[in-house]
Amino acid sequence: MADKHINARGLQCPGPIVELFKVAKAAEAGDMIHIEVTDCGFGKDINAWCKKTGNELVSLEETEGVIKACIKKC
């Protein structure tokens, strides 16, 4: 199980989920993906993305305009 990090700061929609998709595709089940995003729609989008792609949203927090999410590849 590996930890993967994505810096998607500054990327506009749909950039963050596109980057997340690429990393998730290459990841193995159980891998943890950490992503940082400044697009404020991402907080809601990540829930929809995880539900749709069947991955698990482990944590989601926002501090000073940066949304940090941790996703477990299932």
């Binding site: 500054g10 990327l11 506009q12 929609c13 749909p14 950039g15 989920i17 596109v18 997340l20 998709f21 929809a48 993305w49 749709k52 792609t53």
Partner: protein
């Protein structure tokens, strides 16, 4: 896995941006995506450079009057002779929004299927050599076949 189909009818920059953002987003959600480019939408797929092909007078006129590729499209509103489009593009660049050619490239890289309508190509005199790489040529039946399997279909 589900799939989405989009009919890109318009050749306006703003509408093409919307189509390509949805297409990229859907592909990133793991969906199969097909975009069928017809009528004015065909211009989105044209190469930026002028390609030497045999055309009759009307075809040449059409080719010259329509925007040559994703980088040349204009806004559907507030174009102001190109000034509005230029302003919008510079704002989008400043805000780090992907350009239309970049969105098109990203869509192709994620496996979004781009289909050019052959009837529109014939009517407007657009030849295959004038379209970007990786575009499939087909008719309405191909699109309908894809739409049958899709759970979302948009006409833009």
């Amino acid at each position: 896995m589900s799939s989405k189909t989009i009919i890109m009818f318009s050749g306006d920059l703003d509408k093409a941006m919307a189509s390509l953002i949805i297409a990229n987003g859907a592909a990133a959600m793991g969906d199969d995506v097909t975009i069928f480019f017809t009528f004015w939408g065909l211009n989105v797929l044209r190469k930026a450079q002028k390609i030497k092909v045999k055309k009759d007078f009307m075809e040449k006129m059409f080719g010259a009057m329509m925007p040559r590729g994703a980088g040349k499209l204009r806004l559907s509103k507030m174009n102001f002779g190109g000034a509005g489009t230029g302003m919008m593009k510079s704002i989008m660049k400043k805000k780090n929004v992907s350009s239309l050619p970049a969105l098109l490239e990203s869509a192709q890289a994620m496996g979004v299927k781009l289909i050019a309508c052959t009837m529109s190509m014939d009517v407007m005199g657009i030849k295959q050599e004038e379209l970007i790489q990786g575009v499939e040529l087909a008719g309405v039946a191909t699109y309908l076949g894809e739409a049958d399997n899709a759970n979302v279909n948009l006409f833009i």
